[in-house]
Symmetry: C3
Subunit: 332 residues, 3 copies
Amino acid sequence: MATNTSWTRRHIISLADFSAIEYDIVLQTANSFREVLSRKVKKVPALQGQVVANLFFEPSTRTRSSFELAAKRLSADTLNFAASTSSLTKGETILDTAKTYLAMGTNLMVIRHRDAGVPGAIATEMDRLDARVGVLNAGDGQHEHPSQALLDLFTICLLLDPDRPRLDLLADKKIAIVGDILHSRVARSNIWSLTAATGAELHLAGPPTLLPKLFAPMGDGRPGKLFLHWELEPALEGADFVMTLRLQKERMTQHLLPSLREYHNLFGITRDRLQLCQPDVKVLHPGPVNRGVEISSDLMDDPHLSLISQQVTSGVAVRMALLYLMGGGKNA
Amino acid sequence: MATNTSWTRRHIISLADFSAIEYDIVLQTANSFREVLSRKVKKVPALQGQVVANLFFEPSTRTRSSFELAAKRLSADTLNFAASTSSLTKGETILDTAKTYLAMGTNLMVIRHRDAGVPGAIATEMDRLDARVGVLNAGDGQHEHPSQALLDLFTICLLLDPDRPRLDLLADKKIAIVGDILHSRVARSNIWSLTAATGAELHLAGPPTLLPKLFAPMGDGRPGKLFLHWELEPALEGADFVMTLRLQKERMTQHLLPSLREYHNLFGITRDRLQLCQPDVKVLHPGPVNRGVEISSDLMDDPHLSLISQQVTSGVAVRMALLYLMGGGKNA
Amino acid sequence: MATNTSWTRRHIISLADFSAIEYDIVLQTANSFREVLSRKVKKVPALQGQVVANLFFEPSTRTRSSFELAAKRLSADTLNFAASTSSLTKGETILDTAKTYLAMGTNLMVIRHRDAGVPGAIATEMDRLDARVGVLNAGDGQHEHPSQALLDLFTICLLLDPDRPRLDLLADKKIAIVGDILHSRVARSNIWSLTAATGAELHLAGPPTLLPKLFAPMGDGRPGKLFLHWELEPALEGADFVMTLRLQKERMTQHLLPSLREYHNLFGITRDRLQLCQPDVKVLHPGPVNRGVEISSDLMDDPHLSLISQQVTSGVAVRMALLYLMGGGKNA
């Protein structure tokens, strides 16, 4: 694995200002780790002796496991922080918790928090302290979830060219994101990545309560084009990739939706509805899935149509790449 | 450690169809790992780069720690799944959770669930997907707990011949299992293993509410003989080994038992009662123990009579053997 | 790292009987691990193949993470025990839990419990069983927290002589501990360590409800001198180091204090109040901190005055030293 001299970003908080070169470095690096993961011994000593702390102030299993595995496969030592048993219940501030992990010798912090902005605030504080630590946003409120969007991008580009996944493969593609865009940090990060390539078309679809017009300005001045739809059909028509989002059941009690059945009828992705798309359309979902709500159960399980399993596999390679680039940048 | 060319089983879900050869391979392999554990550096690189995921949908500390340590001593990377903080609370199905861990690159899944059949269903699904992953049942409802029964067998055979623990050492032995057989997955797995040797006698004893006659058919056609008793004495008489089972206190509220004291008076194992057994009788218990209920406190602590501590030690060696055989079989 | 032939202590439960030689061995060993932690690869193979079990019957994140990282940097395998998901809820005794971890092959047990005496009782039982295992008290009720006091000592001595931190550097120093002495295991352990050097002066300050006279006898016959004050000023006057303690909010509901504001007015450490001390005074706090209660927020963040971050960093080196000495003593 050659050192990436062009990687200069210490923290990964948002994809809003990611450059095309950065996307391509992530895609290439993830692809070389994908090769590592196909070996019998799936480990490299890249981060040996470094400490990756998973600070999950919001509980999670799958994302935490994915980062933990990525870190272990880079031979890092990992520390897991569980919010429920933590000093937070003793009144310590989040910044003080982060500083404690810094002082213990943490090199990379992977942070999830239910409030938008927390990983960014920690990164800012770390820089103010001149701390040589990288902060990776693993999901902050309804703001962003960059590693998820990067693994989605990697999954898509890998399908288009397994030898050389790169951003410009999106150039003539139409991608739809369907569902609860308003509350989705996954969608927000994907809006940045999937409009980063010239000629790409990203279509958002959802009911007006879950897709307000405020998303339109995110497309201003982007290389790709952004479209909003309050109906499913125009988004699916001719699409190459369809990403459905998890629908959280509390949206019902918040009166944003009449019922799960109604939602499924209007915006659920089914085999039938995919007839509107390109013949070789593929479906993505960030997981965990509510089967029969945002996606029909048989569609989810169809390996010819669903990329859900590949997304999870890509996740480990992409997170290895991110930790490696952040860790390597630090030592450069 | 030579490769076991005769081991072909990918999953370990139940001991119902375990062959004598399989028992002997497990016993021999565990014995060579016992030797490893006596060294100063207690690790072997057998599963380096492989991932063992402990999916404990039902919380556990001792069994999970035992598997985690076994995996680490084989140099595997481990992932722990805690049901309480998991996507399950977000509506994801158990099969989807397992598939997520598969897609991350898990090689071996150690699964505990409060419902019988879950590990088996996951194994079936993994095979249907043609996934090269092994599933080990670490306890499913009241069904089975194979690794516990195998460590019990190893503990017994090791005492009988430390150089060559093997199934046929049970040939002329009488073993009693006492207590809440009905609700015990440990007992169910042990019924299969302890009747696997020709000439072995397995005696079950418990009150009728906890030992219904439905267990009798499990002895049909087995090499060893199975007996049921609603009183303690005939089971203990001349026994070489006595295994007591944990009595869960909720059995009282379910009106299956009058009181803990009554239970102890009728079926509790004490030093006095062991007078009925062979002079060199030994006592086993799968833990955790309710002292003074199923076993008297002084008996539990007597190293001349109790094998409880050896069972825990054997557990790590046996689990190393199982993970090794499943992992090696996969690569063969 | 040379073997310390003079270290004979198997367990670390209390500092009450720590000798000057023992303090100096810990300080020197921690200092050599501090050098290891400044390297790029911060690991040594000292405890390879050994198992360190963190048995935290009382939840904790920072102390557990510090011990876990220390163990991993010594290349030990670690097991974490979470009280909430444990067999304890199934009626198993604490001693039986410890014996289970012993039987699994644990070499070193790091134990925290809300009741004073539990780690000591486990250590006694382990010795009675002639088990070659070391027990380290990571905080037991209001009794002691030796590793915290040792890291405080290391932090102080390191500042006084980074090349050769040693106990006699305290000889002409005045150190103040301020706050809820009564309920603090940290204070109790520090009373022993900070009165261990001839010529040292340790001043305790707090309101009478949180600093009863019963602490005075702890100074009898110690090499250093112990003073008690019910006001802050005489403790601060001319002090070289000021340690503030965490104030637990439940002290209010227990009617031991009128209000947090009142407490801060009387005993909170602020930049102004430090004018009474030596010009180069430094402030310590064991964390987690209630900002604006026991210490003002700006003071806590002032790197010229606060040693809080160094304490956390020292913690890893000191815990590596303790585990190393206990582990090495065991093999000697």
